[in-house]
Amino acid sequence: MIAFRLFVYVLYVVLGMIILVRTAAFGLRFETLTGFILGGLLMLLGIYRLVLFARMRSASR
């Protein structure tokens, strides 16, 4: 279960990066704004959950 949760969190980060890269190919313009926000949010959520996970693991030791 722990491995699966970690996989999902890493998946968020990777997917966010992919969306950011694909959106960046079109440059910063009105139509790509939501793409940048989506990619950024996915990465933020993934990193936030990884940090929470790491904190809980270190606290339980």
Binding site: V8, L11, L15, R22, A25, E31, T32, T34, L38, L44
Partner: protein, 537 residues
């Protein structure tokens, strides 16, 4: 059995998340199709605007639910911050939302099942669709009267499967079916009129309704002041990502199988929704079926998963309405009959039957144009032919925008007039000021959120013919009933009756097991009293 029964605090972080997710997470299943139908090429911006407002609402609920962990939710916050009459209005608007929630989600649940069972398609077999929705409402009503709720394990499992499914749909969709150039093209070519964009934005807010569940969970969560902020932030981010992700994906989606309209012309994915009430109610099922590779599996189980999740959400409407009515009744905002419990089942049977009965009335009103051609002509003349699911969406958006507007005002009021209550989570970006000799923090996000949600309320009133009439009508009827009740009981009509909030807050924190916060609260009160005594001396 205790003479003063309390809810058991057994909900842990995942339970708290899944409780909120099973309520808010189901919203995108309805919201996606509706918003694509109206906002077309600007759907992602409609979701982004509503999503930013939702973040503000979510932060407000997180702060308030952690500071006042009671089940009353928005109604309680407003009662505490603004007094009885506004507490009633907020609670009454929430009751409208929960009542619509029962019908809307039961309706959409049948729509999702129709993806696998064509005899349930609303436009082709309106009576079958109607009887199924009615059957779901009656079953949920009976289950709640008897006292059967879906177990936390079941709710948690459905939420977990849904989070995985929605993430996989996004992954496969963005990796194999998403074309950024098509997204840019669609946004250029299919940008809607300002009126349609306002209509779409007001419907987009329904993808984010259900934050009451955060505060409802608060009363049953272990150490709510610590757990609620953590789970709420993850919940808010997750829901926002799905809403923006799905709308972007839908606009830039290259279908695996070619899609055609009724005349055989090739169409883009998002064009499945405008003017098609059947499709609007099952947006995620249609999207998942078109996802490369994963769609082969998803087309069979996502409709069932969606139907279950929507039914859980419909059930939370039945449960939530009875609980809010109970809370309002104990605050002397509604008659005491709403506190009565069934002798045998020990459930608030009167409340459950009342709001399920109202939900059936709403269902009849929503389904009438499909069931009867004469009614269809009348609706066409009066309401520009809004279909059932849009009518329900209108009222849902109205109720949510009204109650959330009051919650933002209550947030500001409580920051100014109750700075003593410890806030373990506080919304960022505040301006320190002094009010009545106390240092308080004025929440900028609260003001921004209020402007955002109030503008959505205005959009709803401007663009929705039925919402414009039925929403304010519900509030006017409610105020009338409230005044009659208060008059009969000899209570102040427009002023508040006396409340001892200090004792109440101490009791709330003690019941929550937040003893450190209770000590901090008492220390704050002592310091404040000393400052006031010194100032008066």
């Amino acid at each position: 059995m205790s003479s003063n029964p309390q809810l058991r605090r057994a909900v842990r972080p995942w339970g708290s998340f899944s409780w909120g997710y099973s309520d808010v997470g189901a919203d995108i299943f309805i919201g996606l199709g509706l918003v694509l139908a109206y906002a077309a090429g600007a759907s992602n911006f409609a979701f982004l605007f509503a999503g930013l407002v939702y973040v503000c609402i979510g932060l407000a609920y997180t702060e308030l639910a952690a500071a006042y962990p009671v089940a009353g939710g928005g109604q309680y916050f407003v009662l505490r911050g603004l007094g009885d009459i506004f507490g009633f209005l907020a609670g009454w608007a929430v009751l409208l939302d929960f009542t619509i929630d029962i019908t809307l989600f039961a309706w959409a649940s049948v729509d999702y099942l129709s993806q696998l069972a064509p005899p349930l398609v609303s436009s082709l077999h309106p009576w079958t669709h109607f009887w199924f929705v009615l059957g779901f409402i009656v079953i949920l009503c009976l289950l709640n009267v008897v006292g059967v709720r879906e177990s936390t394990v079941f709710q948690g499992s459905v939420s977990a499967i849904d989070v995985i499914s929605e993430t996989l749909i996004l992954c496969f969709g963005f990796l194999f079916a998403f074309s950024p150039s098509l997204l840019v093209h669609t946004m250029h070519v299919s940008w809607p009129s300002t009126f349609a964009l306002m209509q779409g934005t007001s419907l987009a807010i329904i993808s984010f309704v259900g934050l009451e569940s955060i505060s409802q969970a608060a009363q049953e969560t272990q150490r709510p002041a610590s757990v609620i902020p953590r789970t709420s932030l993850v919940l808010i981010l997750t829901i926002l990502i799905y809403a923006i992700g799905y709308s972007n994906l839908a606009l830039g989606f290259q279908s695996w199988h070619p899609l055609h309209d009724a005349h055989g012309h090739a169409i883009a994915f998002w064009q499945l929704f405008p003017g098609n009430g059947d499709n609007q109610g099952k947006g995620v099922a249609l999207l998942s079926a078109q996802i490369p590779y994963y769609g082969m599996l998803a087309q069979f189980y996502v409709p069932v998963l969606g139907a279950i999740l929507l039914l859980i959400s419909s059930n939370s409407g039945v449960f939530g309405a009875s609980r809010i009515a109970y809370s309002m009744s104990t605050s002397k905002l509604l008659p005491s009959v709403f506190q009565s419990v069934h002798r045998r089942f020990r459930t608030p049977a009167f409340s459950i039957l009342t709001f399920c009965g109202l939900a059936v009335v709403v269902l009849i009103f929503a389904a009438l144009p499909q069931l009867d051609h004469g009614a269809q002509a009348v609706y066409q003349r009066l309401f520009h032919g809004e279909d059932g699911v849009t009518f329900l969406g209108d009222l849902y958006a109205f109720g949510a925008a009204t109650s959330y507007s009051f919650v933002f005002i209550a947030l500001v009021a409580l920051r100014l007039y109750d700075p003593m209550t410890p806030r373990k989570f506080k919304i960022p970006f505040n301006i320190p000021i002094r009010v009545r000799g106390e240092r308080v923090e004025f929440p900028i996000i609260g003001v921004i959120g209020f402007i955002g949600i109030f503008s959505i309320l205005i959009f709803t009133l401007i663009t929705h013919d039925i919402g414009r009439v039925a929403g304010p009508g519900w509030l006017i009827v409610g105020v009338g009933l409230y005044l009659v009740y208060r008059l009969n009981k000899g209570l102040p009509l427009l002023r508040s009756r006396p409340h001892d909030w200090r004792t109440a807050q101490t009791q709330i924190l003690r019941d929550a097991g937040e003893l450190e916060l209770m000590d901090e609260y008492h220390a704050n009160l002592r310091a404040s009293d000393e400052r006031k005594a010194q100032a008066s001396a």
